[in-house]
């Protein structure tokens, strides 16, 4: 680059100048976007609780703005015009999604780690009920007749149907894996559910997700829209006339050796379009350019007049603005291969607006004039004027004004700015700091060799060494030079930032285990399974060698001895059968299994991949005993 720093000219410069003018008109100081807030020396070692806004809602009349704060476990109610605080309402733990009843009288909040719904009376702004629901509720929608509540449960992979007045569960509808975000069609007749994890698919085949479509009147699944090659699906939005639906999603390239990040080699950020405006079939379109990405698309909204679409990208810290008529013209003329053409977005993307760290949910004001963006890791809300598509003000939510080292580490985890062309960040594969359900072909071991399943990060701090081959002795090694060279393919963090990133990863707790009884006791089946896990004699009375007992390798509270063993699962493409013993934390959630993800279920580990009892003595077990063992493992 031969230009001077601080250049503000060009199209971006003109836009900036216009935005600055608009900011002045609105009387709000313009926030300087795109800068890392936690500079060296400016952070604190304290453990601070931040608001962490994830979703936004306007009341039907626009008078109130509801802000769902994920870390402070609150709904904050602001004035819809001045953004002054009206009230902070405490809800359950880790609230992830919320919605208003069609009449606006009640606000429903899905508390993901409590497995509850909070029901808030919007007149009194009090929690009037707390109802139990399924495992990790992530979004909630009431039907138009106020008869039923639909709740998407991420861990139980279903949609719970509740009585809207009592909260009594009527039934569960099978959804896809990781059911998380739910949106009603504009006429309220259909509910559309998306999933952050891919559905199970055969080993080394493209992942596939779905949009589960529910008839709101009959409470039945009426369609499953396949999302081929997609893993990691977030919000859905509709045009006001319901003719166009749009899904924000990730298109991973996990089956191709990871030799580069350029040209969409690791991950593409795409939208899937569906509905009458695009015909019978869905159309996938890229958000990325040739040299820049819109990493981790999450929130999406369409203006009431159908002219503009807005998509947040958490990793890129931007909002992408799409000209909808141009988009529709383009997809009608070019239906094939758009998803793999990085020059396609030039035909419909009209602007990229820089916002804060990890922008998530969006809300359009009822008149469509303002788009509000929840910047989760900044505790701010960007206000975008939809006529100029400029940030005209930034609302700072109450909370700590200093950045803790932990927070800085989390910002680092969620940004894509360190990778080549901003293509990926840690959170691309560790969705919401968990995993992605995918297997990857990393380049250093050879192309097509040593395929590795992505492991969960929960409670990872005491499980060193890292990698399936145990090659990285600690997290700084795992996340530092190795990541720079083989993942980001670009200059990495400085040492301070790496230290903060590691601090954040080490802080990740295990989510509540849904298979354990509330009092910590085990069910009879789990007790039987525990006995099998710990046994020293097989069903024929023969002693089981120490190294062939489950509890030997999977020892300790995390279920790992932190040593490597050959359990007979080496494939032709593996360089070694010696594998690090994985921790068992929440193992029920992390299918598929084994180092390369070849076992689709826990059961397959022993029924298909343990013919010689190398992976524990299990071939003497009956079907029922194996089920008991699995029941016990689910409690880990």
């Amino acid at each position: 680059m031969r230009g001077m720093p601080g250049n503000r000219r060009g199209r971006a410069g003109l836009a900036t100048a216009f935005c600055a003018l608009a900011a002045a008109v609105f009387g709000v100081a313009m926030w300087n976007p795109g800068t890392v807030k936690a500079a060296a020396g400016g952070r604190t070692g304290e453990h601070l609780i931040y608001a962490s806004p994830v979703e936004l809602l306007f009341s039907p009349d626009g008078a109130r703005l509801y802000v769902l704060c994920n870390q402070s476990d609150e709904v904050r109610v602001l004035d819809g015009s001045t953004y002054s605080v009206i009230k902070n309402i405490s809800v359950g733990h880790e609230p992830r999604g919320f919605s208003l009843s069609p009449d606006g009288a009640r606000l429903f909040v899905a508390n993901s780690w409590d497995d509850t719904l909070s029901v808030i009376d919007t007149r009194t702004l009090e929690v009037v009920a707390t109802w139990p629901v399924g495992a990790e509720p992530s979004s909630v929608v009431e039907d138009r007749r106020a008869e039923r509540l639909y709740v998407a449960n991420r861990i139980s992979n279903d949609v719970a149907v509740l009585d809207a007045q009592t909260g009594a569960e009527e039934k569960r509808l099978a959804a896809g894996r990781g059911a998380s975000y739910m949106t009603a069609s504009p006429d309220g007749r259909r509910l559309y559910v998306t999933h952050i994890y891919p559905n199970p698919s055969p080993h080394r085949t493209p992942p596939e997700s779905e949009v589960t479509v529910i008839d709101a009147a009959s409470a039945e699944v009426v369609d499953r829209i396949p999302l081929r090659s997609i893993a990691g699906v977030f919000h859905i939005a509709f045009s006001a006339d319901g003719r166009l639906g749009v899904v924000a999603e990730l298109h991973p390239k996990n089956l191709v050796p990871l030799t580069a990040v350029e040209h969409g080699w690791v991950m593409e950020d795409t939208l899937t379009l569906f509905g009458d405006d695009v015909g019978d079939k869905t159309v996938e379109i890229p958000l990325d350019d040739l040299e820049s990405h819109a990493a981790r698309p999450f929130g999406v909204a369409m203006t009431p007049d159908g002219s503009r679409m807005y998509v947040t990208s958490g990793g890129s810290e931007i909002v992408t603005v799409i000209d909808v008529p141009r988009l529709l013209r383009y997809v009608r003329l070019n239906r094939r291969g758009i998803a793999y053409d990085l020059s396609a977005s030039g035909n419909y993307v009209v602007k990229r607006i820089a916002v804060g760290h990890d922008p998530r949910g969006v809300a359009l004001s009822p008149d469509g004039r303002r788009l509000l963006v929840a910047n989760r890791l900044d505790d701010t809300i960007s206000v975008i004027d939809t006529r100029s598509d400029c940030v005209v003000s930034t609302i700072a939510l109450a909370g700590p004004k200093v950045i803790s080292a932990l927070r800085h580490g989390e910002q680092t985890f969620y940004t894509a700015r360190y990778s080549f062309h901003g293509g990926i960040g840690c959170a691309n594969c560790h969705l919401d700091s968990t995993f992605d359900g995918l297997q990857w072909d990393l380049e250093p071991d050879g192309l097509g060799r040593d395929i590795v399943d992505n492991r969960l990060l929960e409670e990872v701090k005491d499980t060193a060494p890292y990698k399936w081959n145990g090659g990285n002795p600690d997290l700084p090694t795992e996340c530092g030079p190795r990541t720079e060279k083989y993942f980001w393919r670009s200059e990495n963090y400085d040492d301070l930032t790496l230290a903060d990133l590691v601090l954040y990863i080490r802080s990740l707790p295990a989510r509540p285990n849904r298979w354990r009884l509330p009092d910590g006791q085990l069910t009879p089946a789990q007790e039987r399974g525990k006995a099998i896990f710990e046994r020293s004699v097989d069903n024929f009375g023969r002693p089981i060698p120490l190294a062939n007992r489950c509890a030997f390798c999977h020892s300790g509270p995390l279920g790992t001895s932190r040593k490597s063993f050959d359990v007979g699962t080496k494939k032709e493409t593996d360089d070694s059968g010696l594998l690090d013993t994985p921790q068992l934390t929440n193992i029920a959630l992390t299918a598929p299994y084994l180092h390369d993800g070849s076992a689709a279920t826990l059961e397959e580990i022993w029924t298909l991949y343990n013919p010689h009892d190398q992976h524990g003595r299990t071939n003497d077990l009956t079907k029922d005993e194996l089920n008991d063992l699995i029941e016990y493992l689910r409690t880990r």
């Binding site: 001077m4 720093p5 410069g13 992942p207 050796p257 040209h263 053409d341 380049e443």
Partner: protein, 480 residues
């Protein structure tokens, strides 16, 4: 250029390579920083690509400062090719102490005016650019024309980077039988360079990129045709270049170049972007005139008063070229090389049938790798089978020109690469197809060839290559 502005230009000394001094018109104030230019009686922009001299009558670097332009350094017979360090404190340049010696790379420290020779070579070393990580890149004259080389700075700030050429620490980056010249280091850390198209054999100037370790070489865009050179990146990320009679840009959203609505004129090369977003470039109204340094506002409405060129520096009898701002600038990203310690490379093609050149009429059965020997003769290294999905996986010779040809079942050539490229030692490269273009991202599927074997067919030219090819003939597509 306005006539008035022309009148403001002051004639410099007439003697060849005599110290030059000029006063600048008021437009110079708009630049907002001091700048460097190369002044020469004659400038032939693309001459070196043909093996000739860009500055056949010599050249001298000038520092435009405080309304005057004066020689940047004294005691040189010729100086050119200035590049300012990221902190704005040093200047790399090509220089000759005497007219008869080759161009060498020197560094000037502005604070104390000290000068050090950073490369000692027996042939011309030109066009130096700073790289992140205390490295530099330049064009080194070799028996195959100019090749791009790179090196790390030494520990002692006033000692030579390197001594002698091709000694320890020198990393050759380009490996073609044609000249290549670095023109900019992009914000993403890649090196932008110009060479002929088709690469390694063509004469049409084209812009290419590679990572800082020489891996990943490719054309910046694949809408080949008109010659383009003098590429430089703007703060926006766009790359602006010239066709000679016009300017154009590459922008992230487009797979093709986009025109720049600049005044009709002849443009010498790279643009320098000022802090206010104006462009400083070397331009002349017609082929017979001399190049001058002009300022232009690329955001002004076309044909408006503010859209015209404003002369910043002009000198009678001199071409003024290669303007460079003397100011700190954003450091590009450092590229972490992941090359393996091998003397070969691996290449995986996902679907060799995919090409911007269109569909093939016949399904290819195999791929042939060719290279060039030291005399420039084509050498066939062997063939590898193509899977039914179009994929192939081969072990290739590294650090030398190679190309691939698709063959039918009878061995007839269905399609061949137009030029040559290289893969670095230890590089594992994957291509979506053969000439698929940078806009094409891969489909997410396991290439059929990796389901058959993860051992590449050896096409390095060793004794095992043909044997390996025969051993890996298609066997009916029964991928395991």
């Amino acid at each position: 250029m306005s006539a008035g502005a022309r009148l403001l230009a002051v004639a410099a000394g007439a003697a060849l390579l005599a110290p030059l001094c000029a006063f600048m018109p008021p437009a110079a104030d708009k630049v907002g920083a001091d700048f460097l230019v190369t002044a020469a009686p004659v400038y032939a922009p693309l001459a070196e690509m043909r093996g000739a001299e860009r500055f056949p009558q010599g050249a001298q670097l000038l520092l435009a400062h405080g309304g005057k332009a004066e020689p940047l350094v004294e005691g040189f017979a010729a100086t050119a090719d200035a590049d300012v360090s990221f902190d704005g404190k040093q200047v790399l340049f090509a220089g000759k102490k005497t007219a008869g010696e080759p161009w060498q790379v020197w560094e000037l420290t502005l604070a104390d005016r000290s000068i050090r020779k950073v490369i000692v070579t027996e042939s011309d070393a030109e066009r130096p650019l700073y790289l992140p990580g205390e490295r530099m890149v330049w064009a080194q004259r070799t028996r195959h024309g100019f090749q791009i080389e790179s090196a790390e700075d030494g520990d002692l700030p006033h000692e030579a980077f390197l001594n002698p050429t091709a000694g320890p620490g020198v990393l050759a980056l380009s490996y073609i039988r044609a000249s290549a010249f670095p023109t900019d280091v992009l914000a993403d850390g890649r090196i932008l360079f110009e060479s002929g198209f088709p690469l390694g054999q063509g004469a049409t100037p084209e812009l290419y990129v590679m990572y800082a370790d020489g891996s990943g070489v490719e054309a910046y865009r694949c809408d080949h045709g008109r010659g383009r050179w003098g590429g430089a990146q703007l703060a926006s990320g766009d790359v602006v270049f010239t066709h000679g009679a016009s300017l154009a840009r590459f922008t992230s959203a487009l797979a093709q170049e986009a025109p720049v609505d600049a005044p009709r004129a002849e443009y010498a090369g790279a643009v320098a972007e000022t802090a206010s977003g104006d462009w400083l470039f070397s331009v002349r109204p017609t082929a017979g005139a001399h190049y001058a340094i002009e300022l232009w506002n690329p955001n002004a409405p076309a044909k408006s008063e503010s859209a015209r060129l404003e002369t910043v520096l002009a000198m009678s009898g001199r071409d003024l070229v290669e303007p460079v701002l003397l100011a700190p600038r954003t450091r590009p990203r450092r590229f972490p090389s992941g090359l393996h310690p091998w003397d070969y490379a691996n290449l995986l093609a996902l679907d060799a049938r995919v090409s911007l050149d269109g569909d093939l009429n016949e399904t290819p059965a195999s791929v042939r790798l060719e290279t060039l020997d030291s005399a420039g003769h084509v050498v066939v290294n062997g063939t590898a089978p193509l899977e039914s999905d179009g994929s192939f996986f081969v072990k290739t010779p590294a650090d030398q020109p190679i190309r691939f040809l698709l063959l039918d079942r009878k061995g007839a050539v269905l399609r061949s690469e137009r030029g040559w490229f290289w893969i670095r030692s230890g590089e594992q490269r994957i291509c979506v197809g053969c000439h698929a273009g940078p806009a094409r991202s891969p489909e997410n599927r396991v290439p059929g060839v990796l389901l058959r074997s993860t051992t590449p067919v050896d096409l390095t030219g060793g004794s095992g290559s043909l044997h390996a090819a025969i051993q890996n003939q298609p066997a009916g597509g029964n991928a395991r």
